[in-house]
């Protein structure tokens, strides 16, 4: 293909490299920035020699092994639970319209920030929460809230519940997206039918025929979920135990401590966190191999039914409980946000007031502006980079290398707590004092993978003949891009933009760390408020966190329709 030599073509051609650098340098730089202090090298504190002091301090920390175990246990069990329930739902409703209804019911959880979801769940299970109110006093006999230690229970059960509820819709969506691929979905459904005609009960047919061929499409999402669950901080902060907390939360506390020497310990902790995540990923991989090995003979042993009816009934009940949990926690959140006086066992407040909203809206003025400013800047940059990278791919007529696609998803797989501190240090070295800029830059790292993931397939599916046709009519590459491709892709671009905004709105750690604690967003405020203060104010913030991405997606859905409407009128 003959390349045109105009400015646009040059710009586009260099974008992929620039994007790679933009992602690799901060992540790798951040990792180095954690590794050096972990081994005692901190020039700022005049420590220029290497030592194991940080790791020693870590091991001497009371409850250190408990922290590691808690992180590992909660990550593994929540991922396993979310995965098993996803598979059960798929198996049970494989040929039923209910599969898509369940997805539609659970789907909105996807864009709810982790912090908001955690707050909603904490209000569900807390002693005076929706569950105990619904069953009191008629069943439990409680006239005052029971004395149980939820949500911050020592076993991390609340935290596991929160992680499971949040990750399940993601896995389900990924599975349905794989099944929606025309060739794969049709083939798997036909093979399922064959298994039925061979006398297999629907559940067994799913497990023996569909799952082995569907799992490869779920592997990466599951690993991403596992990595995230092992290292995230919002959910353990709001739902997890306090003494000791998970490793990631402890690291964050050490890093934010006024005592700068704790940074060595924190960095050593970040290294351990990285190792922990890698170990968990390896453990999952091993578990997968083992399951495959063990099930190999039973797949072909000819057994047609393994208590399918019971498993189906169990799945119906589990799905019902899941959906009720979601509905109840959202309802609880809304009720608290408008509640006046609300006595314990009654399930509804005695009066509804707007006061909490009025107060909160005045308070959240600055953080709202920050949230929007950071979100729009990061997403705008991410969308431009993604579009140019995809355009470069089409100009070169070959898709991105495996290495490049891996780099794009790097920030999704590497625990952010393991490189963000290094990035902060790096930004300090570069004397980048502008907190807002630093935050936007760090958000960009997390927004890019999602924007790319959401735009890539539609961009690649665009019929190349349109571009060829436009070129033959004399359009330059730039005008083909701006005036033919982008208008045709307006809907997916709007969706990608909304997704980018939702991801940026939900970021907690990068905002806190890279902003040096000076930049408040709705999310950072919501997390701070969750640990105390008023349940009513907290609800307003959590709802605000949900409203913002919902609004973004509503606009993304509406805007292309409006544009079309006016175009055809003119």
């Amino acid at each position: 293909m003959i390349k045109s030599a105009d400015f646009f073509t040059h710009a586009v051609q260099h974008t992929p490299k620039l994007l790679m650098a933009l992602l690799i340098l901060p992540v790798l730089g951040g990792l180095v920035g954690v590794l050096l202090p972990a081994f005692g090298y901190i020039p700022a504190l005049n420590k220029m020699s290497f030592s194991l002091q940080g790791f020693n301090a870590l091991i001497d920390t009371a409850g250190f092994s408990q922290m590691v175990l808690l992180s590992a246990f909660s990550a593994l069990s929540s991922t396993l639970l979310a995965f098993i329930i996803t598979i059960l739902i798929l198996a049970c409703y494989f040929n039923s319209p209910w599969l898509y209804r369940i997805q539609r019911l659970l789907g909105p959880i996807l864009v709810i920030p982790h912090a908001a979801a955690a707050i909603a769940i904490s209000f569900l299970i807390t002693p005076s929460g929706m569950i105990s109110r619904l069953f009191s006093p008629w069943l439990s006999g409680w006239q005052s809230p029971p004395d149980w230690l939820l949500p911050h229970d020592a076993w991390g059960i609340s935290m596991i519940l929160g992680l499971t509820l949040k990750e399940l819709p993601f896995l389900l969506l990924m599975a349905l997206a794989a099944l929606a691929q025309a060739d794969l979905g049709a083939k798997l459904r036909a093979q399922h039918k064959i298994a039925l005609s061979l006398g297999y009960c629907p559940m067994t047919a799913f497990f023996k025929v569909v799952l082995p061929n569907l799992y490869p499409f779920l592997r990466l999402p599951v690993l991403a979920v596992l990595a995230y669950a092992s290292a995230n901080v919002e959910i353990p902060l709001i739902l997890g135990p306090n003494a000791p907390p998970t490793l990631a939360v402890a690291i964050m506390h050490w890093f934010n401590d006024v005592d700068l020497s704790l940074r060595i310990k924190a960095s050593a902790g970040a290294v351990i966190q990285l190792l922990l995540t890698i170990t968990l990923l390896a453990a999952w991989w091993l578990l997968e191999k083992l399951t495959k090995r063990v099930s190999q003979t039973s797949i072909i042993n000819g057994k047609r039914d393994y208590a399918g009816q019971h498993i189906m009934r169990f799945t119906h009940v589990t799905t019902f409980i899941l959906i009720s949990c979601v509905v109840l926690s959202l309802a609880g959140l809304v009720l608290w946000a408008f509640a006046g006086y609300w006595r314990f066992p009654s399930s509804l407040p005695e009066q509804f007031v707007f006061m909490h909203w009025q107060n909160a809206l005045i308070q959240m003025h600055t953080s709202l502006i920050n949230t929007l400013l950071i979100g729009f800047s990061a997403t705008f940059i991410a969308v431009i980079f993604t579009l140019f990278t995809l355009e470069a791919e089409q100009q070169r007529a070959q898709s991105l290398s495996r290495f490049a696609s891996l780099v794009i998803y790097l920030p999704m797989l590497i625990p952010s707590i393991a490189f963000l501190f290094g990035l902060v240090w790096l930004q300090e070295q570069l004397n980048s004092q502008h907190a807002l800029f630093n935050v936007i830059f760090s958000h960009l790292l997390f927004v890019v993978p999602y924007v790319f993931l959401s735009l890539a397939s539609s961009y690649r599916r665009l019929d190349p003949r349109f571009a060829n046709l436009a070129a033959s009519l004399g359009a330059t590459p730039a005008s083909v891009f701006w005036r033919v491709k982008l208008p045709m892709l307006i809907s997916p671009i709007c969706i990608a933009f909304a997704l980018g905004l939702a991801i940026s709105f939900s970021q907690y750690l990068p905002t806190l760390l890279n902003g040096g604690g000076r930049i408040d967003t709705i999310t950072t405020e919501a997390v701070t408020l969750a640990s105390g203060a008023s349940r009513r104010v907290s609800s307003v913030y959590a709802l605000m966190q949900m409203l913002l991405p919902a609004l973004a997606f509503a606009l993304a859905w509406l805007l292309p329709k409006l544009l079309k409407h006016y175009q055809h009128k003119a």
Binding site: Q191, A205, N213, I299, N301
Partner: protein
């Protein structure tokens, strides 16, 4: 007792309009051919026979297999084998695994001997451990046939089973399939576009939507 598949006074509607009207019985070893243009309801009929009729259709009439009413039996309990135009071998299992999957439970040794014998009969000896994707189209079609037969079905449905094979292979495979069906004395229903399939089946032929087809 010889086997018999009987469709009794079947009418299938899509929303309110009747699509199919059939009353026929097929004794074991005989192949009923269903022909008709696309949209005439061939696959709808197959879906009804397998118990997988989509919701927008509804049916009246009954299906009897060896005097047993299976109209309301779920798909997996009907013992009606299916052969599609694509072999649809399971990609995660070997050739032998695909056949073993279909066979009833039993002693491992006995099962694997049966598989080897069956493969030999259709000229595929020694291919037990092969990945099905590495076989030729004709070989895949034969494995798919063995898979259905060794599941010991009481009747068999053929959904344009030879339409993806070229003419020489088509002839051979068709011969093999029909011979096996006659040998096992299975009642069979074949849906096809191709008159030569119908001629080779040498049985009853039902033309769906015949009037409209002749107009077209």
């Amino acid at each position: 007792m010889s086997s018999l598949l009987a469709i009794q006074q079947l009418t299938i509607w899509r929303q309110q309009c009747p699509l199919i009207d059939i009353d026929v019985s097929i004794p074991g070893g005989e192949i009923l051919t269903i022909m008709g243009p696309s949209g005439s309801g061939k696959s709808t009929l197959l879906n009804w026979l397998t118990g997988m009729l989509p919701q927008q259709f509804h049916a009246q009439g009954s299906l009897l297999l060896n005097q047993q009413d299976i109209t309301h039996t779920p798909a997996h309990q009907r013992h009606i084998g299916l052969l599609y135009q694509d072999p649809l071998l399971f990609p995660h299992l070997s050739v032998a695994g695909n056949i073993a999957f279909a066979m009833p439970k039993g002693a491992k040794q006995h099962r694997s001997e049966t598989i080897s014998q069956a493969l030999e009969q259709v000229g595929l000896d020694g291919l037990e451990q092969r990945d099905p994707a590495s076989l030729s189209g004709g070989q895949q079609a034969r494995v798919a046939l063995l898979r259905v037969l060794l599941s010991q079905p009481k009747a068999i449905l053929l959904d344009e089973p030879f339409s993806k094979l070229d003419s020489q292979l088509r002839h051979e495979t068709r011969q093999l399939v029909f011979n096996q069906i006659r040998e096992h004395q299975l009642p069979a229903i074949m849906v096809t576009h191709d008159q030569s399939d119908a001629d080779a089946a040498n049985g009853k032929i039902i033309n769906l939507n015949a009037e409209e087809a002749t107009h077209a």
